[in-house]
Symmetry: C2
Subunit: 339 residues, 2 copies
């Protein structure tokens, strides 16, 4: 009674109740209707409840080929945006009986390949991926192997995959137009030097907005690795010196904004008097900042909801040759003191 209690299997239940394994299995899987009498069903269910039986998931996986596990391959799980989404996703998935495994690529292609290879061969039912740069071949490969793949945060405009992303183009355009309406004339864009759709779309939105306003394109693109380094700082400082006419800046990511705000503070530039500021992604830091920073915020909860419900929908499908799930959500402008 001490050591043996460790595990109770379907077989034990069958033996105890004088039934066959098949019968128990049918009942557990709700396939007992028109096969097994209500009386027996009740008896078995009561017994299962009583002893707290839980099926062994390894055995289930082996037999069915499904693991009830979803991988969420993210750029960086310690980034507040991704970790907030992750938290919401986790909850929704768990309630549907799925576990989520998170992993960070740091936007490194090699790391991402490594991770996918770890999960290959059916250890996982679906992949939710924020692909690093130059990753379309790997996505294509995964899809061609009939894996379920959902892209998140970034996607490939020319290819037909499942995705949930922000309307980066439109949201950026709206942000620039807001700045314009506030009376700012020379609006600069500080973004990342990358081919990720998230950032190229934001840049395109900016360019279109300034074009429509007959204004000059004043932009600085910093490479991903330099954002938090001295190199990035220097580039930003030089950019400011080169363009004294700038009276507002749109930062394309929260990390860029943090770097930028440090420099602005250092140079004693007043916000919003000297330069107005707006940035992507809300963080409590921006609310607390002096002055509080206007942001284009991503709808975390809705994004998470769409990603999970979409992925679960894909998991339920019999044939993969159906319409793709493609969701685009708008950002929300939260106006504060900085612009």
């Amino acid at each position: 009674m001490k050591k043996n209690q460790s595990k109770i299997s379907i077989k034990d239940i069958a033996q105890e109740l004088g039934l066959s394994i098949t019968t128990i299995s049918f009942i557990i899987n709700k396939k007992a209707k028109n096969r097994i009498s209500d009386e027996v069903i009740q008896k078995v269910e009561a017994y299962i409840e009583k002893v707290g039986y839980k099926p062994n998931s390894a055995a289930q996986s082996l037999r069915t080929g499904k693991t009830k596990t979803i991988v969420f391959m993210v750029e960086d799980i310690s980034d507040p945006f991704f970790s907030s989404v992750a938290k919401e996703m986790e909850k929704l998935a768990f309630d549907s009986g799925y576990k989520i495994i998170f992993c960070s690529t740091d936007n490194k292609k090699s790391r991402a390949i490594e991770l996918i290879s770890m999960f290959k061969d059916r250890q996982v039912d679906a992949y939710i991926i924020t692909p690093p740069e130059d990753f379309q071949d790997e996505i294509e490969q995964l899809v061609s192997e009939n894996q379920i793949v959902m892209l998140f945060d970034r996607f490939y405009r020319d290819a037909d995959y499942n995705y949930v992303v922000l309307n980066n183009y439109g949201s950026t355009k709206r942000a620039v137009e807001y700045l314009k309406n506030q009376g700012f004339k020379n609006i600069a864009y500080v973004g990342l030097k990358t081919e990720l759709s998230t950032l190229t779309d934001r840049f395109d939105g900016y360019k279109e907005a300034v074009r429509e306003a007959n204004r000059e394109n004043l932009s600085l693109l910093i490479s991903f690795d330099d954002v938090k380094s001295e190199v990035g700082n220097k580039q930003f400082e030089e950019f400011l010196e080169l363009h004294p006419e700038i009276d507002a800046i749109l930062f394309a990511t929260n990390n860029l904004a943090i770097t930028g705000l440090k420099i602005l503070k250092k140079k004693n530039i007043q916000i919003p008097e000297d330069i107005g500021v707006i940035t992507f992604d809300d963080r409590d830091l921006f609310e607390l900042h002096a002055p509080a920073i206007t942001v284009m915020s991503q709808p975390i909860t809705s994004l998470a909801k769409e990603v999970i419900s979409g992925t679960l929908k894909l998991l339920k499908r019999k044939h993969s040759i159906q319409d793709k799930i493609q969701i685009v959500l708008d950002g929300e402008l939260i106006v504060r003191k900085s612009s």
Copy 2:
């Protein structure tokens, strides 16, 4: 060649090479020495490499009872402290062939119980847990079922479990002493109303430090649910009004500090001229704040390293009746302008 390629098993390899399943398995598991000829070993390894065979983990789990999975049950995965630790942990664990499943309890006992029940019965090799309040019985239960349990961030002083925690008592004491040495006289403590060791130890450290300095205990404890609400704001404001003598505040968590800084700003209290500030946990927000905030920072990387290496050590043990793994790390004081 198209559909059948889906999976390749040990059996296929055995057949293809005219060997037995056993032989292949031995070679894969490095148990072939003194059993199988080098020639055969080489041939098999080459073939495995060539076809890119990966063992089916469900079958392995079923047979061995191990899932190569660790659960990290955390208070809130979207909290920067926990998500930073999570990221480091994930990396270390993955490199040892373990997957990590994260989940958030929101410090709710009921949610934690729910989650544990989901993972019960060997779906998981080990639990890393930041227990919510009043959770010792559940931990005890888990341990008594011979599950591997590692407590993180908080622990039970009177019970003998595995844990990795910060030296909260000593770190807080040091922080107070630093304030004292900086010339602050009336040092207040703003903490959480909770029995979690993390917070009680910090409070104890504070009390001891002011006692040694023959100073008054000026403290406010806010309950967890009120921190980000109006109730919390009001309590803090009243506290300040009640104690105009306060010239420095130690915040016990970053969330408390954020709330507090908002109020201080609203009341136009100058930092550090009117009141000096120091808080637990470093966040980029504190560095960027005007003025930059002095913090008692937790050694994220070391904490993650200790947790994972400790857990892996436990996983390797044959007998659970060995010494517990109990690690206590010191915080690092990062001095900035606020004190």
